[in-house]
């Protein structure tokens, strides 16, 4: 650790991992509810479990991004963080607000929660991924603005590198596009149209900047490749991401009442969206092949390479599979979407945060890398989680294909629930694979507590 204030990243990362664990537990509950419909009913109905599952995902990734920013920006700017105290205060505010929100979901009926939290003043709740009560949404904005102030001041006074500028731009974009979550017109088509300005412009837009910056940062550190080379490729990759991804928003505008020309625009541009992910994979492997040093933290190198591959598979390939309008006509709103969502979120965003944690945590704990023993365990966790996610995706894809066939294509189309019964086998297999993922995650957490002799550069 070059600067004392980078230490504020540590609680952020610990919280991220804790919430990640919660997310997976609720994922397992939902997976079981898919096949044992009345499991935990009425204590935790499916919609509550799902809200917790997706909201925890978003919140832990945000914790990860923030932690990464607090670590990376001082180091890139070559100065201490503008205000470590503010960063720490925001951590506690965000954690308490996040925990209170999740408890609210679990303990209070959603309609009551809405009433209690002023949803009648400004109705923003009850839309997918944006279920948070108004005070939580406002809290997210405040935390984000305080963080951006803190980070922007740091960068303004320090060295400006491509990496910290791109990271900062991504975080600013994240905050700005989140403002669309406060716009909820009664007109459902408009509601959905601008809802995507949060959701799509996050995950297929500004988050890719954050991801690119984090990956570039770790690659510079673990490979020792010249910053100039890494930074110009970073710019080209994120340029491609936005060139394809901004109009690529159109792939959500096929069937929600928007004009039909979006079928052309959305198909053409989103067909290009795999390109930046493919470049990112090539980029990661090339930089590691051209490394000028053997970094003792081999686990972090593995995570970095894994991010490239899995982001390409999940976001690129599985996205492309159903992005063309004639295909999407059949796959829209089926388990295919769920399959893509799982591998894309894991491959792109979960893994890049874990890459960052893997690289920084040993340093934050006062060593360059973990012991060989701990690293081996972390790599086992990597493979268990990653392979499990590949199979979760494959099973959901199979479920989706069968569902579409039975419900939407067959000569005698089946009703929704009848079709669900037919694909139950795949849901069972997904749930079992989910347990493997959970095992991997447990191993990952255990690896933090494994001692042993510190690994040295070879």
């Amino acid at each position: 650790m070059k600067y004392q204030s980078q230490a504020v990243a540590k609680p952020y990362f610990i919280a991220a991992i804790g919430l990640f664990l919660g997310q997976i537990l609720f994922g397992l509950i939902m997976g079981l509810q898919y096949v044992v419909g009345d499991y935990l009913f009425p204590a935790i109905p499916f919609n509550v479990a799902r809200m917790v599952h997706t909201n925890l995902l978003i919140v832990w990734l945000l914790f990860g991004f923030m932690g990464a920013a607090y670590y990376l920006i001082p180091e890139e700017s070559e100065r201490e963080l503008y205000s470590p105290k503010l960063a720490l205060a925001m951590f506690w505010i965000f954690l308490v607000a996040g925990a209170a929100t999740i408890l609210g979901y679990l303990l209070v009926p959603y309609a009551t929660l809405a009433e209690m939290t002023g949803n009648d003043i400004l109705a923003t709740m009850g839309r997918e991924f944006l279920e948070q009560p108004l005070p939580t949404k406002v809290g997210i904005v405040i935390v984000a603005l305080a963080m951006l102030f803190n980070l922007s001041m740091t960068v303004l006074k320090g060295r400006k590198t491509a990496i910290n500028l791109v990271m900062l731009l991504g975080l600013w974009g994240l905050a700005i596009f989140f403002l669309f979550s406060f716009y909820n017109p009664a007109n459902l088509v408009k509601d959905k149209f601008y809802w995507w300005w949060v959701v799509h412009l996050w995950v297929e837009g500004v988050w890719e900047l954050i991801m690119g910056a984090m990956l570039a940062f770790v690659l510079i550190k673990v490979t020792g490749v010249d910053r100039e080379v890494i930074e110009k490729w970073l710019y080209i990759i994120i340029a491609m991401a936005l060139i394809s991804g901004l109009i690529g928003t159109g792939h959500h505008y096929y069937w929600i009442g928007t004009p039909e020309y979006w079928q052309w625009w959305g198909s053409v541009f989103s067909a290009m969206e795999p390109i930046p992910f493919f470049m990112m994979t090539l980029f990661a492997f090339n930089m590691v092949n051209r490394r000028r040093r053997e970094h003792p933290n081999q686990a972090a190198v593995l995570w970095a390479l894994g991010t490239g591959v899995m982001a390409f598979l999940g976001a690129g390939v599985w996205g492309f599979l159903h992005t063309l309008a004639p295909v999407n006509f059949y796959t829209h709103g089926s388990q295919i979407t769920a399959a893509h969502g799982h591998m894309a979120f894991y491959g792109a965003y979960a893994m890049v945060v874990l890459t960052m944690i893997s690289y920084t945590m040993p340093i934050l704990r006062g060593r360059e890398a973990n012991s060989r023993k701990a690293q081996v365990m972390e790599m086992w966790a990597f493979w268990l989680m990653t392979i499990a996610m590949v199979f979760i995706t494959l099973f959901l894809t199979a479920a989706g294909i069968l569902q579409i066939w039975l419900q939407r294509i067959a000569a005698e189309p089946m009703g929704f629930m009848a079709a669900q019964d037919q694909v139950a086998l795949f849901y069972w297999m997904r749930e079992i694979t989910g347990l493997v993922f959970f095992t991997g995650l447990t191993l990952y957490i255990v690896s933090f507590f494994v001692k042993g002799e510190e690994a040295r550069a070879s």
């Binding site: 009913f41 009664a186 710019y235 936005l242 505008y253 009442g257 079928q263």
Partner: protein, 141 residues
């Protein structure tokens, strides 16, 4: 002939490309807003349907169902449920939940009043009238 690959050129292309395509997105969105009145069934978006949307949101229906294909994939598509089932079936169905059949997926009972049920049905009537370019492929959603 020069041969260079500079960071500043890469940076300019990133900023230029981002602004360019964002403006294009804004332009297309502007055109979309102009075109929506022909497609979004706003003439049927009455007070009752607006209240219905509010009920839809505050019961977190999207946590299980899809609406125009977006939401969770645990329970049936409801964008076209008005056409598929009709108003009376919808109301009776909501009131009879949960079924309590062992091992089957359960929907909570939200204790909606008759007026609220009517509002919700009105909302579904409105969504069913949105021009979705012939999606879903068939009535099953």
């Amino acid at each position: 002939m020069s041969s260079a690959f500079t960071k500043s050129a890469a940076r300019n292309i990133f900023y230029g490309g981002a602004v360019f395509f964002f403006l294009l997105l804004v332009g297309l969105s502007f055109d979309t807003m102009q075109t929506l009145p022909k497609r979004d069934n706003r003439e049927n978006l009455n007070e009752s349907a607006i209240r219905g949307k509010h009920i839809w949101e505050t019961r977190n229906c999207i946590g299980c169902h899809t609406l125009l294909g977006e939401g969770a994939y645990f329970a049936p598509e409801l964008g076209n449920v008005y056409t598929r089932r009709g108003p009376d079936f919808i109301k009776a169905w909501i009131q009879s939940q949960p079924t309590g059949v062992p091992g089957r997926r359960q929907m909570p009972n939200f204790n909606l009043t008759d007026a609220q049920l009517d509002d919700l049905v009105e909302f579904f009537k409105y969504t069913a009238g949105i021009d979705t370019a012939k999606w879903p492929p068939n009535i099953e959603g």
